[in-house]
């Protein structure tokens, strides 16, 4: 044969590589959808994670960078140097001993004076008596001698002579005799004994008084325990609480806390402008400025003095603007923090509050140690203030940093966002997985004859596997790149903007966040690879012949279903439906995902609104008062005359978990309480370790009656194990209930101890100084408002993403259905059906299907969302159930159906575009 004349060429590079690009271009719309979803998921979620991580890290580093305090205390007036030095020593003063010494010292002079006075009087009396006796005897002798001599005197003459002699004798001899007698008396043992006796008596009285007083103090603050010294450095951080007026509308409702220049502690990050340099300049909190619309250069009045705002800053001890640590919520609208120069501070008329910040000289290693240091330091502080030379000085406030809401609230709240981002990520990843699976199986179906030909020609499965993996992988990697870039720029800025809107945060540095990359990028890409790998590998198991015959379904050919004798069009539609059952199943899953996303978008808002509307209803009583101590200064138990007021005890424990430590309130309730109605026989029936838990607790942690729960002290290594007696219908918080008596036993309190009062009537007869916290309906609503404030912005962010992704899914799926029917549609065109008839044949079954599917999908989406919601709530404090009112379901239904109708219009144009020749091409 002529084989010698054959010219051979080189083996070309794999032409399928070129085809990958061409495939991407051919399926650009689909790949664009996948690309968009990937970018949205990665960008949106990593935006959240990155901003969260960057901000949290920045907040944490701020503590050191801006020399944040370890706590602060306020005295009734500035303390002298000695007191400050004593406080800085961190040693507990021996209050009783010092008071005793002082009292003894004071008593000593008085005792001596009293004894001396008594003795002087006695000696005076005795000397006078002695002189009188001697003079009288002498005068009597003289009269006797004169009588013997015959002189006669009248009684009056005698008395006058005696008086004269006495006067003379006393004036001549008394002082000398008195001094002599006094000297002798003071040297006498009797004097010493008298003095000792008087001293003993005085000391006895002092001791009794001091012991009584100290016992009470010691009892309240645990001063009888020995502590290790907690040396600290104390800084003056005086301030004035005055009113701020905006130059524009003299609104006096804003409180402003002005500090003079801060140099050594609790510094600040200037976000705009500069620090004050003269007495007319003031630097205020950035967030307050944003909220009320103050800019650098504006003039504000502070206690009626005008100041020019020279800078906007974030103070390290006020990342959240809590005016008082006992406030239930902060309010950046009506409270501001500011700093002036020392001269500027002098200009402001107002009481200077003697506030002091302190830092520990030896930093605690963890929060347990911090709590223990803080407790010890408090004892040192209380005692040192008590023994201060200035007896008028009093300790008015003590807030360690770990318990300072202004410092911690933002940080804790930022943590919650992570779990919200996490749940969104789960849903989006599931949606992505679904899209990958649908896309790749559609691609393989479309490519059936190509695959059959290539396999018949000798292409291996591995080659085809790599080829069909390439395009999705390239899209995914490219989308990951774009998504991460957007995540670190645009989306991060959006989220950071929300944070700045809620909290007074310092400037931050965008940080590389590995876990965000792993969760938003690596995991979805691996997921996509696995799904593609599984679907492609499974499909490629089929013989090349099956591909050539477009026979990719595992099942054997089905017989045609017999249909009733309906008119032709309905029957045709049913045929279309029956033929597309797998596609419709896919559409069903897709719509369920859409509903899940919409449940999230619509439901989160609705849940928050519902929660807000019903929060006040779930209070035990209209007023809850927590006392700072239960006895007044006179030692009497603080009571109220408010009608039906009940004593209540409250403690806060933690349910420790690897992911989140949940704060649980433990309530001690009066027997037969009107407000917390535990079973009448609970007291008798329940075992010692049995308690009630709130419905919210039961729901959140799946706890049932009979289960065991373990709660721990927050800052101590102490656990409490209880058995659940029953569930108490209370959904506003995670709580444990027991009787007051049990409560006092459990927490080693005195039998009659309690924490405060609850009542439906206003409690007005308790002095403010004894009230630690007052929770009214408005406070509860404030919490909801704040939740709304910090989560509300996210809702909108979530809603956008959910709706966009939902629309993408619907578009993609209906597109796939039309594509799969392209050939049949083309054939009906060839047969002479017009576009409207074809649309009615192919679009109506889908529309009907979508309509009915929506009902099921809405329900499924809601159920799934509840599950996701729960997993989200497990990562943050508190509990409220995911709720959706009927209007929410209607909204979801309409959103999807309207979106579907819009897509149907697009589908109609797609149908019009399908060429007739398609029917005649490539049919074997």
């Amino acid at each position: 044969m002529a084989k010698e004349s054959i010219s051979y060429g080189k083996r070309p590079k794999n032409p399928m590589i070129k085809r990958v690009w061409k495939d991407i271009w051919r399926d650009r719309r689909r790949y664009f959808l996948i690309f968009t979803m990937f970018v949205l998921t990665i960008g949106f979620i990593s935006g959240m994670f990155v901003s969260n991580n960057s901000m949290m890290t920045s907040l944490e580093s701020c503590a050191e960078r801006f020399k944040r305090e370890d706590g602060h205390f306020r005295l009734s007036e500035p303390a002298d140097k000695e007191t400050i030095a004593a406080i800085e020593s961190g040693e507990m003063a021996d209050v009783a001993e010092i008071f005793r010494e002082r009292a003894y010292e004071e008593a000593e002079d008085e005792v001596i004076e009293a004894v001396d006075d008594a003795m002087a009087e006695e000696i005076d009396k005795q000397v006078r008596a002695a002189i009188t006796e001697q003079v009288t005897a002498a005068v009597d002798k003289q009269f006797e001698a004169a009588a013997e001599m015959g002189q006669k005197f009248t009684g009056e003459q005698k008395d006058a002579a005696l008086e004269e002699a006495l006067d003379k004798a006393i004036s001549e001899n008394f002082d000398e005799a008195y001094d002599e007698a006094l000297k002798q008396a003071k040297d006498s043992d009797e004097y010493a004994d008298a003095l000792d006796e008087a001293f003993d008596k005085a000391h006895e009285e002092i001791d009794k008084e001091i012991d009584d007083k100290f016992a009470e103090l010691s009892d309240r603050y645990g001063l009888d325990e020995e502590i290790d010294a907690v040396p600290v450095t104390v800084y003056e951080l005086f301030y004035k609480d005055v009113k701020e007026g905006l130059a524009v509308d003299e609104d006096p409702g804003i409180g402003i806390r002005v500090y003079p220049e801060r140099k050594d502690v609790d510094l600040f990050d200037i976000l705009d402008g500069k620090a004050p340099e003269n007495e007319n300049e003031i630097m205020i909190d950035r967030m307050h400025a944003d909220n009320v619309g103050i800019k650098v250069g504006d003039t504000i009045t502070v206690a009626e003095e005008e100041f020019e705002v020279c800078g906007l800053a974030a103070f390290v001890d006020y990342s959240t603007l809590y005016e008082n640590n006992t406030d239930t919520m902060f309010d950046a609208m009506t409270f501001n923090v500011a700093m002036t120069t020392d001269e500027g501070f002098e200009r402001i008329r107002g009481n200077t509050r003697a506030n002091y910040a302190f830092t520990y000289n030896d930093r605690p290693d963890d929060e347990y140690e911090e709590k223990s240091l803080s407790d010890d330091f408090m004892k040192a502080l209380i005692t040192q203030v008590a023994v201060s030379e200035n007896e008028d000085i009093e300790l008015e406030d003590y807030v360690p940093a770990y318990a300072n809401q202004a410092i911690n609230f933002a940080n804790n709240d930022l943590g919650k966002d992570m779990s919200m981002g996490g749940i969104m990520l789960y849903i989006l990843t599931a949606v992505l997985a679904f899209i990958f699976a649908v896309t790749i199986s559609t691609t393989l179906e479309k490519e059936s004859s190509v695959i059959g030909t290539l396999r018949a020609s000798g292409y291996t499965k591995g080659e085809l596997l790599r080829y069909y993996m390439s395009a999705p992988l390239m899209i995914a990697v490219f989308a990951a790149l774009v998504g991460n870039i957007l995540g670190y720029t645009f989306f991060k800025n959006v989220v950071v903007g929300m944070y700045y809107n809620s909290y007074s945060l310092p400037t931050y540095k965008t940080l590389w966040t590995p876990y965000a990359f792993v969760r938003t990028t690596i995991i979805p890409i691996i997921l996509m690879l696995i799904i593609n790998l599984v679907v492609i590998t499974r499909t490629l198991r089929l013989s090349p012949l099956r591909f050539l015959r477009h026979d990719l379904k595992g099942s054997k050919r089905k017989k045609a279903v017999r249909l009733p004798r309906w008119r032709f069009f309905p029957r045709f539609r049913i045929r279309v439906f029956l033929q597309n059952i797998p596609n419709y199943l896919m559409l069903f899953v897709g719509i369920t995902f859409v509903m899940l996303l919409l449940s999230m978008a619509v439901g989160m808002r609705e849940t928050l609104d519902y929660h807000q509307a019903h929060m006040s209803e779930s209070m035990f009583a209209k007023e809850q008062l927590i006392l700072s101590r239960t006895e007044d200064d006179d030692g009497n138990t603080i009571t109220t005359s408010a009608k039906n007021a009940e004593r209540i005890s409250v403690a806060s424990l933690e349910r420790k978990d690897e992911t989140y430590n949940e704060e649980i309130s433990v309530y001690g309730v009066e027997d037969d309480s009107l407000y917390i109605r535990l079973d009448a026989d609970f007291t008798e029936k329940a075992a010692e370790d049995e308690v009630y838990i709130s419905q919210a607790y039961a729901d959140k942690y799946n706890v049932k009656a009979g289960d065991t729960i373990v709660l721990s002290e927050k800052y101590e290594h102490k656990d409490y194990t209880w058995k659940v007696y029953d569930i108490y219908d209370y959904s506003a918080g995670l709580a444990v209930f027991m009787t007051n008596d049990r409560f006092n036993e459990v927490f080693d309190n005195d039998k009659d101890d309690f924490s405060g009062y609850i009542s439906n009537e206003p409690i007005t007869d308790i002095d403010d100084e004894y009230i630690a916290a007052e929770i009214t309906e408005d406070d509860i609503l404030k919490v909801a408002r704040q939740l709304d404030h910090s989560m509300g912005a996210y809702m909108v962010y979530f809603q956008y993403v959910c709706v966009i992704v939902a629309a993408l899914i619907l578009y993609l799926l209906t597109k796939i259905i039309i594509e799969k029917n392209e050939r049949a549609i083309s054939m009906t065109k060839v047969l002479g059906y017009n576009d409207t008839e074809i649309a009615s044949l192919y679009l109506v079954p889908t529309a009907i299907f979508v309509f009915f599917t929506e009902f099921i999908a809405i329900y499924l989406g809601f159920i799934l969302m509840k599950v996701f919601w729960k997993s989200m709530m497990l990562g943050m404090g508190g509990w409220f159930e995911f709720t959706m009112p009927v209007s929410g379901f209607v909204k979801e239904f309409l959103l999807v159906f309207i979106a579907y109708l819009l897509i149907t219009v697009i589908d109609f144009f797609r149908i019009r575009k399908i060429p007739k020749v398609l029917a005649l091409k490539n049919i074997e």
Binding site: A2, G9, K22, Y459, T460
Partner: protein, 238 residues
């Protein structure tokens, strides 16, 4: 011609059926034949005679129920899926009735998909010229006529210079003139490259250009003829 060359393809007792029970249909009912190396073999038969099934089994993309197939001494039944793929890759070329070109690759790239499978492929440009497609090499399949598309399909099969070229009704979708052109091309390829060609067709006229004609009906070989008076494809009439 050696015995081995004479029995380059040997089929013994080949049977194949589809379905089971009542619906069982015997498609091939025990076929025995041989095809010599470099031979142009035409399998003739009406629809349903089992010729396409036979071709698919010979191509290793379908399997027989019983019987043996030996290609150049290698028993097909002994090959696992991997070896079968390798066998197709190294020894077989496929030409389908419906061309099955890859729509978004141009003419040259479609041919390259075949060339890539061979360590010593034919020179593509020369082949394009032989196929009369050189001018069209940058066109996409949908820009070509049916005949041109089938040429591309033949080019893709032949470029790896396979031992056996399997053609399944290559002119089935083409008109008379185009069909003749395609047959001329296959003839030319057979002469130039010396591949063994097995072509399935229902067109009786084509048997005239073959070296060897096997007629099938109802899954059986009705006639197995060596054509000693073959005529050129150009002279075929039907």
């Amino acid at each position: 011609m050696s015995e081995k060359e004479r029995k380059f393809l040997e089929v013994c007792g080949l049977k194949k059926s589809f379905g089971s029970g009542d619906t069982k249909q015997d498609v091939l009912k025990g076929l025995d034949f041989t095809v010599a190396k470099g031979e142009f073999c035409v399998m003739l038969g009406p629809s349903g005679s089992g010729k396409s099934t036979l071709l698919n089994i010979l191509g290793g993309i379908d399997s027989a129920d019983s019987g043996e197939i030996y290609i150049d001494g290698d028993k097909l039944a002994d090959m696992n899926e991997k070896s079968l793929t390798k066998y197709r890759r190294k020894h077989l070329g496929y030409v389908f009735q419906m061309y099955n070109l890859i729509p978004n690759l141009n003419v040259k790239e479609n041919i390259e998909t075949g060339a890539y499978l061979s360590d010593a492929p034919l020179d593509i440009d020369e082949l394009l010229k032989i196929l009369g497609l050189y001018e069209h090499r940058h066109k996409l399949p949908n820009q070509l006529s049916g005949g041109q598309q089938q040429r591309v399909s033949i080019g893709r099969a032949i470029v790896k210079n396979p031992d056996i070229l399997l053609c399944d009704e290559p002119t089935g979708a083409l008109d008379y003139n185009t069909s003749k052109e395609i047959l001329k091309l296959i003839e030319e390829v057979n002469v130039k490259y010396g591949n063994t060609i097995i072509m399935v067709t229902h067109n009786e006229a084509i048997k005239e250009m073959a070296d060897h004609v096997i007629k099938l009906r109802d899954g059986k070989i009705r006639r197995d003829i060596v054509n000693t008076e073959k005529i050129a494809a150009a002279d075929l009439e039907w």
